[in-house]
Symmetry: C2
């Protein structure tokens, strides 16, 4: 198991999040990549109140960050590339294959995530706002456009560039899980199958299980319960 | 001048966009990076109706794509990295400096752009929707949070990591120009100064001038004007 308190690589993760957000936190991307690459890591857990100085590590107060003996970095995309460079599988050295993987990592974060994330927020974080319901058709239109384009491009391939799973697929699957959680993949069976294929990878299952185990161990006690 | 019809590098750009979008198109990022790196390039102009087969180059039907003798890639972030790797200035080889630049490229696209872009859309693309006005306070709250955090991190430094301008700054400046165009930087003089510093670079000015020259040359004729 790659989790090792003496590992050189340390990542940050949240101690607990509400059930609706469990399994979607961005440390999952990094845990998954580390599992795929077979790299040991340790986890620094942080809470809703960030530890003093955390903004130095992550200026937007988010998780994850990664540090080891060489770098201190944030942003899950950059971290996936860093891990990918330690694994010729996840981020091959051949220029075209390498840049295809990098372009899909960016595409997941920049051309897909903002649209499906915003559509998802209308169901949860923004659900109480008077404008959330009337905004849905327009936002859904844009989210569906991107999902359709992605579905068309994936076609019946296994992964985005064919037979090889790269950091681009890893990132895209985690982004599509946001869409799936809010019911956005119902009309895209090809994308749903692609997510399922990603989730079936042993490295993904270990990463998810490790993230969820942290939340289970740090479940807030109900008001009035014995400590 | 790096524009050269016989150059090995080809990028795609739009032939014309309405005035409110001029100077914000994503090919500007790539033109700017190519100018900084001193690399010659040619431009393949495309219109509102994309040429047949364009989805093969860019699955989301956007610009820019880049192709040369080595790669065919899309996503401006991936393209900036590719150009950066040809220039030790824009993307230094030292691991920490390199990954700091890459993390800021991702941060611009993933932690800043979606928020300021969405706030901007409420003023233009979504302005006619009944929910656009009531949505503004909430969306603005999130956009301002990210702008404040970025402003705090930049502090009084010249560039995000100090004295050295990298692809991370290049991407961040172009993202902040979206915010500025829609009045979102009024309370962030440090970010406005940072944008101004970026825009003062000769490479930026050449890139912007070349982008605008295309729009000027392809201005649609008013209905009924002589051909």
């Amino acid at each position: 198991m790659p989790i090792d308190p003496h590992a050189a690589i340390e990542i940050t993760a949240l101690r607990w999040v509400p059930e609706g957000a469990q399994g979607l936190g961005k440390d999952l991307r990094v845990r998954w990549a580390l599992e795929e690459a077979g790299l040991n890591y340790k986890v620094r857990l942080i809470g809703g109140e960030r530890p003093s100085g955390y903004l130095q590590d992550q200026p937007f107060n988010q998780v994850p960050c990664l540090r080891d003996d060489t770098v201190r970095i944030f942003e899950s995309g950059a971290i996936l590339q860093y891990i990918g460079e330690k694994s010729d599988e996840l981020l091959p050295a051949d220029p075209q294959t390498r840049y295809s993987a990098i372009q899909w990592t960016y595409a997941a974060l920049s051309s897909v995530e903002p649209f499906v994330q915003f559509r998802s927020l209308l169901n949860n974080v923004f659900a109480g706002e008077e404008w959330a319901e009337p905004a849905k058709p327009t936002i859904e239109h844009f989210a569906r456009l991107r999902l359709q384009q992605l579905s068309d491009r994936l076609g019946d391939k296994q992964w985005l560039e064919g037979d090889r799973f790269t950091i681009g697929d890893l990132m895209m699957v985690t982004v599509l899980r946001i869409a799936q959680r809010s019911g956005q993949l119902a009309d895209y069976p090809g994308l749903a199958a692609y997510v399922k294929l990603g989730e079936a990878r042993p490295a993904f299952r270990r990463a998810l299980s490790d993230q969820l185990a942290v939340f289970a161990a740090n479940q807030p006690q109900p008001e009035g319960a014995a400590a």
